[in-house]
Amino acid sequence: MISQLFILSSKGDRLVYRNFRGDGGDDVTDAFYRAVTSLPGDQAPVFMAREGQHFVHVRHGGLYVGATTTADTSPFVLVEFLNRLVTLLREHCGTLSEKSVSVNVALVQELLGEMVDFGYVQTTATEVLRSATHGEPETTKAFSLLDLRSVGLFGAETQQSRVAPGSVTNRPVLPPRGEQGGRREVFVDVVERLTVVIAANGTPLKVDVQGEIRLKSFVPGACELRMGLTEELSVGTEEQCGYGRLPLAAVAFHSSVDLEEFEQERVLRVTPGPGEVTLMRYQLAEDVAVPLPFRLLPSVEWEPAGRLRIHLKLRCDLPPKNHAINVVLQLPLPREASSLAQELSSPEQTAELQGGGRSLRWAIPRCQGGAQLGAVFRVQLPPTPPLGLGPAALTFELPALTVSGLRLRWLRLSAPPGAPPGPPQRWVRHLTHSDSYVVRL
């Protein structure tokens, strides 16, 4: 069970604190902050036993969301709950930041009161909390339609959202009470994460695609939502995977999803309340040949006097109409490099040494499908015998594309009776981002 719960700013200031079981002093947040900042690098920070207390925390948006607990508690309960809490705070406060939390302290306290009683988690369901709480969120920034240029996906920790947090979905899920209007919108995202290891000879050693379909609804009240998925979908080994099929190794659905039409039509039906929910998680079968978005062709030469000449050719194998953004290549170097000379093919690309010269970072803001980018680097290394470089790691985002090919064919909404006229706005977005894309050299 949870004894105390707290949210601290990145500097250790207490934003929210709640003592559920009336034991322990008020100075736990200080003790926690001391412990977490003085932790040796090789120790895991998630759980810490300090001064007779057990701390658990997760970090989101620079904040520490943590709790103290007793020894017989399930660590999964704690971590899962803290993650849910983060999601709920996002839903209720719009974004999770020092500012948004401190503005909404009263609301957060009210939510906590309903979510946890005497340290026992009672509920984390948005609808239930909605009916039991009365506070109104205070938004930190007025929402503006003009802000669409930086559309980011809500929960997804994409490179993009890290750089420029999209604000379309960064507002409280619940419209202010009494205002029927609000903006009625539904977002459905198909997000895939790509884990790839490519051997030095160019053959893929491991290709792993994990995906999920997420729904975030800003429509008050329940409305039925139907969505059609790619028809080629097949699950498990139940049928022969013929040409053009899209076999999934594992699929899990949220308990609210009605699968009546899934077997035949590949249609998901769900009646969501306002809030965010992951409808479906899937994993692509291992033996499916997924077109890899990038190839790396390196050549490395040792020049006299400890200079290493690295010629990298990066080929983007996406269809020409697609593109990749925020491509970053990280190449570990065998020794601390003291200087870097670079020849890049376009001015918006950048390259620099990182980690005290232990790795090379090449950033490409945008890369069209079919393009081939070349770069030559010369690094000065301490004189030592030659040895291997790498492996190179790529991070990127592929907007409007799912590597598996799973797509939403259509999305229909039927409004509940008594709803204001006009269908709610629907947004469907597809995205792939690299989870771990490693090329060995």
Partner: protein, 958 residues
Amino acid sequence: MTDSKYFTTTKKGEIFELKAELNSDKKEKKKEAVKKVIASMTVGKDVSALFPDVVNCMQTDNLELKKLVYLYLMNYAKSQPDMAIMAVNTFVKDCEDPNPLIRALAVRTMGCIRVDKITEYLCEPLRKCLKDEDPYVRKTAAVCVAKLHDINAQLVEDQGFLDTLKDLISDSNPMVVANAVAALSEIAESHPSSNLLDLNPQSINKLLTALNECTEWGQIFILDCLANYMPKDDREAQSICERVTPRLSHANSAVVLSAVKVLMKFMEMLSKDLDYYGTLLKKLAPPLVTLLSAEPELQYVALRNINLIVQKRPEILKHEMKVFFVKYNDPIYVKLEKLDIMIRLASQANIAQVLAELKEYATEVDVDFVRKAVRAIGRCAIKVEQSAERCVSTLLDLIQTKVNYVVQEAIVVIKDIFRKYPNKYESVIATLCENLDSLDEPEARAAMIWIVGEYAERIDNADELLESFLEGFHDESTQVQLQLLTAIVKLFLKKPTETQELVQQVLSLATQDSDNPDLRDRGYIYWRLLSTDPVAAKEVVLAEKPLISEETDLIEPTLLDELICYIGTLASVYHKPPSAFVEGSRGVVHKSLPPRTGSSESAESPDAAPSAGQAAEQPAVIPAQGDLLGDLLNLDLGPPVSGPPLAASSVQMGAVDLLGGGLDSLMGDESEGLRSDVGGSPAMGGSGFTAPGPAAPAAMGAPLGSGLGDLFDLTGGVGTLSGSYVAPKTVWLPAMKAKGLEISGTFSRQVGSICMDLVLTNKALQVMSDFAIQFNRNSFGLAPAAPLQVHAPLAPNQSVEISLPLNTVGSVMKMDPLNNLQVAVKNNIDVFYFSTLYPLHILFVEDGKMERQMFLATWKDIPNENEAQFQIKDCSLNADAVSSKLQGSNIFTIAKRNVEGQDMLYQSLKLTNGIWVLAELRIQPSNPSFTDLELSLKCRAPEVSQYVYQAYDAILKN
């Protein structure tokens, strides 16, 4: 309304301002003011001064405002108990409110106010709320009982709330059931004996039904409660498993893990032959693997648990190696955990894949991770023999990189590989030597020095290399110093001619210039060994070392079994049982796995960890496996072969005096504790080379140096007797308990040497071989002086008699009873443990005769409270017969007196550890043929008297 004003610092006027706002007529203004107060309170400012004003706002129909006021009350009521009473009326009224949300809020808040006066008023409303028509109120009330119990347990019992709570387990609403279960579980923890959670098949059935319907968090309460249930038989266990299994596909990882915990526990009861067992096993893997795509924090917790599960049941995940491959963007703590699991799953089938991965990891940027990866390669080599060659060549490649920390780690693991596969990979030594200069970490330096010493005969310039280390001897860490000392001694024994100077140098550095007792003692031991008997020194120092085991990194089986019970608690993250990190007494209940029922017990493979049930049958299980391994791993001082000879005539160096004299005083009389300190010091290793005092000759074999003859007082016709009394053999280890090996035996002492006479009988159907024996530490440091020699394999139904010479130079630990000896015997089948009591007289040494004057002085000197009196009835011997019989067992009569017709004998004896025991024996003829003896014993260590008396009794009655 913006935020910034909530967070301005508390100025003097601010409280005043808030006060005014709180007392405002306008509702909206009031609410904003309370919000400001709550905001200040949350960040830790003291706003308790506003207590009366805030409480005044309590009477409101605005639920949001009411909640905020209640929150304030919870926080400050304890510091202002008198004021808090003002709120009671409102609470009681709110508990009757038509709105269920308000009723629940009131009862929830009251439970959180830990003020006695308020608690009294809580009882009536709580009783009503427990029977409320609204489930939301009932579930809140259920938790409130636990709160009240925490404040005043007696009150809860007196008011009968526990029974009401028990009734709620049958409630129609699953969330109420779940909270009732949670509350009862918590209350039951503080009443371990009570039968609060009366779990029986019927109530379990109710819980399982509620499980399907309640919220995810409620499911966890119910599953955790189920885990404490002990099913009647395997059929019930199976039916519960069947109903819990669907939870494995839940989206909430906490539900999944609570389900896994229940399944892992109940599986213990299922027979392994069952089809269902296999099916269940298969179902456990996917949910665990799925967790590895969750947030890093969850991954970490999952990996820590998986780490335990793969040790207990490697079969669950043996095909899932790939999911544990490290992703480059994993946080370091996830990477390290994955690495650990990869090694645990490594086998011949997947080793190539694993090695390829590890080699890639070794070129990464993160230093900690790279180090661990290099170590992992070494562990692979030790674990999977077929891969050793590839591992070594991989390590050599890595050494070629010359990256400092990679080279150092590689050398440390190569040392271990040498220990595991001697005489196989020594060709790489040349490469290692090239890197000598770059080693700056103690562990790597020590490893390299060990390698140089161990293979000195193959390294031409070994003396130069070691000499170069010796230059900065005093700046090295202890680890390196000890290795250097040992290595140079090894070198000297291998190449005595060229290295005499070097060895003298290191010995004097170690013994004279060092403040470290470990180093000094080791130095003295080598010095004495080398100076007295170089041949023996060679045997000791260059003894063949036992191979190291691949399982050194495993968690010890009994601990593992305990940890498996704590899967899904913090213990599984820390890998320590709660007793190791929970302070105070709260809720530390030792858990164990249920014993397996059904017939498959004997079919279980021997490598399966013994179930707790078996362990409980043998309370005398001595060394935890880890201890044994610890002893085996002891690096330098091979097994205690024999006490170092102490032929005084050949001792030349002054150091010996120091040893003899210094330690003598340490070991005399009552200094047992000190002695074990010496023996147990880490530098001595597990074998505890307690330097022998003057008593040591007694432990030597029959061929005694001529110079020692005069030490023995041979007067009194020792020779006429055939040695000390030997008890008949008894069965120490019945065949039933040792897979067919029966051991019976006794102890004897002949001319200064102690023997353990054993009869090993093979009552199994297979041939037994590879016998070995080891003693646990014991009160007098008894240890085998030679390995257990069974020359031929023991065929079924055969017996063999062995006389195992013992010495008393082993490690010392006080046992209870004092003469308890715990023994481990190993053969090709398994390791068996038994314990036996040895008669104390085997420890009575031959020079135990005290001078008359000395005896008188000592007798007076020992305080009277140390005197113990015993009766030996019905002895058929007269005084002379008693005297000569006792002398056979080294109890020496110093004087004899006749007082009023009674013979008085004054006797002395000495134990191997130098403890003197003085005795006065009064012989009273009771009837013509029998005498009664009255024995008074005086000793500086009175705890031995009891056992000395037992020895007297045994000797005289036989």
